[in-house]
């Protein structure tokens, strides 16, 4: 197998301080709801403005303003179409209302917040992303010969060809769209099954799991509740049939419960150390944290 990393929708950014951040990238399909929401918001504002101008009676009071309201609407359309994204992405740190609702954010490819200059470039080049423009005449012969139907072929092609799923505007501005997510810390799993507690003392004290095995077992315990019991046992047996002799528990032990017992023994010990280090006594004496998870044994 090649040494290439597993394909995923993530971008790693290393800061000058040599700290690595991983961002989850948003491609065309995750961006679409945000794009649609922004169009909807713009259309709603413009419609409200038009309704206001029509109902307020301003044009009836001053007939000369009739044309002016039309001009105002056209100008508003132009303003919203060209400056909406630019304005919000600049003041809201890479987010428009649509992106904020959809949990997306525009970032520089080096992980820094985007500047007004970058926001301008990526928003002004949106027109290029919509190309090629089709004419309705292609399919309806009587339609006017105006090329105005955007196909967004350029945007799709650019996203297909770039590893950060960037459209043309992103490429020119050096930006990428990522998921604006907070780091989720998995909660401490409660494993109170009596079968698990009964197995823990039976585990040989000298049995130690490797780092990778520990991680795999933790992953299993975290996911097991969403898997059917029969399938759970099938899965757990893949590993337990290899290690059961070393673990020292009776061979007929339930594989699922055995993995849970191994997890609980390991992580409860770590949790106790963690709690101990966080106790006010330790905080007062400023004792350094124990680095090894099982160093209390």
């Amino acid at each position: 197998m090649s040494a290439e990393a597993a394909l995923d929708l993530t971008a790693n950014v290393i800061t000058p301080e040599n700290i690595q951040f991983e961002y989850r990238l948003a491609g065309p399909f995750r961006r679409f709801p945000a794009f649609f929401l922004d169009i909807f918001i713009r259309a709603a504002i413009l419609t409200s403005l038009a309704v206001f101008l029509a109902c307020s009676g301003i044009t009836r009071l001053l007939p000369s303003l009739n044309m002016l309201s039309g001009i105002l609407l056209v100008l508003s359309y132009f303003f919203f179409d060209w400056f909406y994204g630019l304005f919000f992405e600049t003041i809201w740190n890479g987010q428009t209302p649509g992106k904020r609702i959809s949990g997306l954010r525009v970032l520089s490819t080096d992980g820094r917040p985007i500047s007004a200059y970058q926001a301008t470039i990526r928003n002004f080049l949106r027109l290029g992303d919509f190309a090629p423009f089709a004419s309705l005449q292609m399919v309806v012969a009587d339609a006017p010969p105006v090329y105005w139907v955007p196909t967004a072929g350029v945007a799709v092609l650019c996203m297909l060809l770039t590893s950060r799923l960037q459209r043309l505007g992103d490429l020119a501005a050096g930006t990428m769209v990522v998921l604006d997510e907070r780091k989720w810390v998995p909660p401490r799993l409660r494993l109170d099954d009596p079968g698990i507690n009964a197995l823990i003392p039976a585990i040989a004290p000298n049995f130690r799991m490797s780092r990778t095995m520990l991680r795999t077992v933790a992953m299993y315990v975290e996911r097991r509740n969403r898997i059917l019991p029969q399938r759970r046992r099938e899965l757990a047996a893949i590993l337990t049939k290899e290690i059961i002799d070393k673990v020292g528990v009776p061979p007929a032990s339930d594989p699922d419960l055995l993995l849970c017992a191994l997890y609980k023994r390991e992580y409860d010990a770590q949790w106790k150390i963690h709690e101990k280090n966080r106790s006010p006594e330790n905080e007062k004496t400023n004792r350094p944290m124990l680095s090894s998870p099982r160093s209390d044994r």
């Binding site: 197998m1 597993a6 394909l7 423009f133 292609m138 898997i227 590993l239």
Partner: protein
């Protein structure tokens, strides 16, 4: 082969993430997949051409530009490609399965893998999933229909109905190619106990397609996205032909070459997306990522023990 070292990161994803990932897969494995797709699609494309294009030429389509004839042609071509795609793209499915674990497979090996399953392929994909019935229906209509209006209106209606039924089956049971070509489940086995795979096709299909609602939702959205992509590709082709040759209208070159090409491109993308949804379904329902991790861990433990014994 390290089972937990896969070419695509294995984790549970949403549908929109899978759709994005399908583009990333196309980018990374594009050349290999395109080659395989081309080999698979070519015989079917020629057959479709024979079925539809020749009769269109014979009936004077190129000269009288009959609107209904063109509509029927577009519908029939789309239906043919839609029904043929799972078999035509069988090579892509096998290739993706191999690429996932870094296995390089030749064209001969791929063909051999399809050939080994010929009976199930014939029964499930060719017959039950409508490849032969659709070819027979369209071929019969094109070559043996005496009444042109009947073929235009009633024929198109019936073809659409058959395609709709096939779509309904495929939207709730989409993973037949994966079960046949990747899991190699036999349709039935006389020597079942000796068989490498203890599950038959029907059993496996029932177990894998338990989340019918989610699969229908995925198929529905994939259908919408395919239609949009088809439109984008065709309009882009019209634009390219217009820019290069000055012919801006949707002419016969679009009907005979670029439209089928766009349909096959969508079929390739659809196959990649189906493979990703298949992986996701296995992860969600069966803990597939756990299975791979646990198997890899068991192997590592065995190796470490063997090393200790030698020492």
């Amino acid at each position: 082969m390290q089972l937990d070292k896969t070419a695509i990161a294995i984790k549970q994803r949403n549908l929109d993430e899978l759709l994005d990932l399908s583009l990333a897969v196309l980018r990374r494995f594009g050349p290999a997949l395109l080659q395989t797709a081309l080999l698979g699609a070519l015989p079917f494309a020629l057959l479709n051409g024979l079925l539809l294009s020749s009769s269109m030429v014979m009936r004077g389509y190129l000269f009288d530009q009959d609107g209904w004839l063109r509509f029927r042609f577009l519908v029939c071509m789309a239906m043919l490609v839609y029904t043929q795609a799972p078999l035509a793209m069988a090579g892509v499915t096998i290739k993706l399965g191999n690429l996932m674990f870094g296995i390089q497979s030749s064209k001969q090996q791929t063909l051999k893998a399809i050939g080994k399953q010929w009976f199930s392929v014939f029964g499930i994909l060719a017959m039950l999933r409508g490849i032969f019935p659709m070819i027979a229906l369209i071929g019969g209509m094109e070559y043996f229909s005496l009444n042109r209006d009947f073929a235009n209106y009633v024929g198109t209606f019936w073809i659409s109905m058959v395609a709709f039924m096939i779509a309904a089956i495929r939207s709730v049971r989409p993973f037949a190619p994966e079960i046949l070509f990747l899991e190699k489940c036999p349709l039935f086995s006389l020597k079942r106990k000796e068989s490498r795979n203890p599950m038959l096709f029907g059993q496996r299909s029932k177990r894998l397609h338990q989340a019918g609602g989610e699969l229908f939702q995925a198929s529905f959205f994939a259908g919408i996205v395919s239609a949009v992509f088809l439109l984008i590709l065709n309009l882009t082709f019209v634009f390219l032909v217009g820019s290069l040759a000055g012919a801006w209208e949707w002419g016969w070159w679009m009907d005979l070459f670029f439209y089928p090409l766009a349909l096959w491109a969508i079929a390739l993308w659809g196959t990649i997306l189906r493979f990703l949804v298949y992986m996701n379904t296995r992860i969600g329902a069966e803990g597939w990522e756990l299975e791979l991790k646990l198997k890899a861990e068991a192997t590592r433990f065995q190796d470490a023990e063997a090393g200790n014994r030698v020492e």
